[in-house]
């Protein structure tokens, strides 16, 4: 995306190519008032990588995820997606706050799936998926509809296209939400505890869709408590606690042989 790279001059953020990390966080901190929820986070997510963020509630993992598409503004540090700073333009050694319109443009390429689905209840599943392409990208109704039906089929809900969210189960709603995010053809997908609000029997159907998505090479950051999913699908597992990254590594290694005492304590409770 050329409009995102313009003006981004600085160490390691000048150009976008295959080696540029999809997400690069350098010493990112975030405070709500005097409460510091993220402390000096440095992370790198490569293209096509699936990264699972785990940790106890209040550890800052959701906040970090929300910073990536600027739903929250970082307090200090640098956070860039695909080589472009999120929410700021850098010029002459200074950071300039972006206009909300430009931030919206950045968000188009980042899909997000929420814990509580957040489907638009006054629209059918199909209309939910069509909304952003038609309203934000200006895609024609017919094209958007064809694409939406294709995406709904991909998440196994073609026959529920005309249902309103209230008439779908939690798992179905979350799959529609994934289709809605995919409709914008994102280069990065963020999942904020996508299965935490689901009945246990419905978790599998959502995870299956996410596994399939990971196989297509989508870059994904997943905040989750599903350790089985992390073990099977993730390339990297990051354990966060108290706003800091405690441990990073291959999920199979971290889960079976955690190095840090806090990781051990946490995993002994959830596994």
């Amino acid at each position: 995306m050329s409009e995102q790279t313009t003006g981004a001059v600085g160490e390691g953020t000048a150009t976008t190519d295959a080696t540029t990390p999809m997400v690069l966080a350098e010493h990112v901190s975030k405070s709500f008032g005097s409460n510091e929820v993220l402390k000096d986070i440095s992370l790198e997510v490569k293209r096509g990588e699936v990264l699972c963020l785990v940790g106890p509630s209040g550890s800052g993992k959701s906040t970090f995820l929300r910073c990536i598409n600027h739903l929250e503004q970082v307090s200090s540090g640098r956070l860039s997606v695909d080589g472009a700073l999120v929410g700021y333009r850098e010029a002459g050694g200074r950071l300039y706050e972006m206009h909300p319109k430009d931030i919206s443009k950045q968000r188009r390429d980042i899909g997000m799936v929420f814990q509580r689905f957040n489907l638009f209840p006054h629209m059918t599943a199909l209309e939910n998926v069509m909304e952003a392409p038609t309203q934000v990208k200006g895609v024609s109704k017919a094209k958007a509809k064809a694409r939406a039906l294709e995406l709904l089929a991909r998440v196994g809900l073609a026959e529920r296209a005309d249902y309103y969210p209230a008439h779908l189960s939690g798992g179905q709603q979350q799959r529609v939400a994934i289709a809605r995010a995919l409709a914008m053809d994102p280069k990065l997908m963020l999942f904020d505890e996508p299965t935490s609000a689901l009945d246990p029997e419905l978790v599998g159907e959502v995870l299956d869709v996410m596994k399939g998505l990971a196989k297509t090479g989508m870059t994904m950051i997943v905040v989750t408590h599903e350790m089985g999913f992390a073990r099977e699908v993730a390339d990297t597992l990051v354990f966060m606690d108290g706003g800091v990254v405690v441990e990073t590594g291959d999920p199979r290694e971290v889960l079976s042989n955690p190095q840090h005492a806090r990781t051990q304590a946490f995993l002994s409770k959830v596994l």
């Binding site: 919206s104 489907l119 934000v136 995870l207 998505l213």
Partner: protein, 322 residues
Amino acid sequence: MSDSPTEATKQPPMKVVKLRHPWRIVFAVVLLAAVAVFVIDAAQREAFDWPSVGKYVFDQRVSMAAGYTLLLTVLAMVIGVVLGIILAVMRQSPNPVLKSIAWVYLWIFRGTPVYVQLVFWGLLSTIYTTVDLGVPFMEAWISFPTEVLFNAFWLAVIGLALNESAYMAEIVRAGLLSVDSGQHEAATALGMGWGKTMRRVVLPQAMRVIIPPTGNEVISMLKTTSLVSAIPFTLELYMRTRDISVEIFNPIPLLIVASIWYLAITSVLMVGQYFLEKRFARGVGVRPDAGAGPVTASMSAVELEQTDAEAAIGAKHGGDAR
């Protein structure tokens, strides 16, 4: 759910004796009798002057006046609702300038009686006798008297509408606040701007909360139009029937005539509200597949995934993540 039909047919259905409410019937009979007494008495009472009621209820002056009242109501409400939405959205806006404008507007128009405001609107052409185009505090380039601009009917509409918009703003704001913040977030995350999020996502959902109190406001407005004599605009229902009652030296039958018309218009407006509420109730209501529970629904979805082997996201059901 667990009962199979064969099991249910085995047991003979038990006879159910419904709970009876004899006192309800007694109360209803007494009430009906009282109403009958009142009606028969009223029909015979001279003071009500029913022949005059019958004579004037379809009098052309009265029906014209009812038309004006309805027109005033509709115009004032349409402008009031539109302005109210704009004000409410301004109050929720991240822009502090817009926020302050909306706050001051509400403070003034909610803080003064509508009757006082209407008198002010009537005196507008006395306060501002001319409209001047040019540099402020210098001699004007063009100047023309305001009397040409201001006509009593439109002053009445504007006076009512501006007052109404202040109340509508709060009703709309309550509606906006009723929409879950996750909706705003989801729209934002999809790349929708603030304005589009409001228009496409938040406002349509807020409408369900906004419509019932707005129906209240419409009916209230219908009756508030009787105050526009303060402008003075005298062609509406209440003033017109009063004029006629002065002619015939009897206010009572014309009050009944006016009441009949107000009630008739209110009834029509209530029907309109019903249809509006139905329109904005989309997405809430009965499931189209009342029989199918979430389990069967998800199973059919899984089957669909398996048949759709071509799809890039083909579900692999081998190892469940948990």
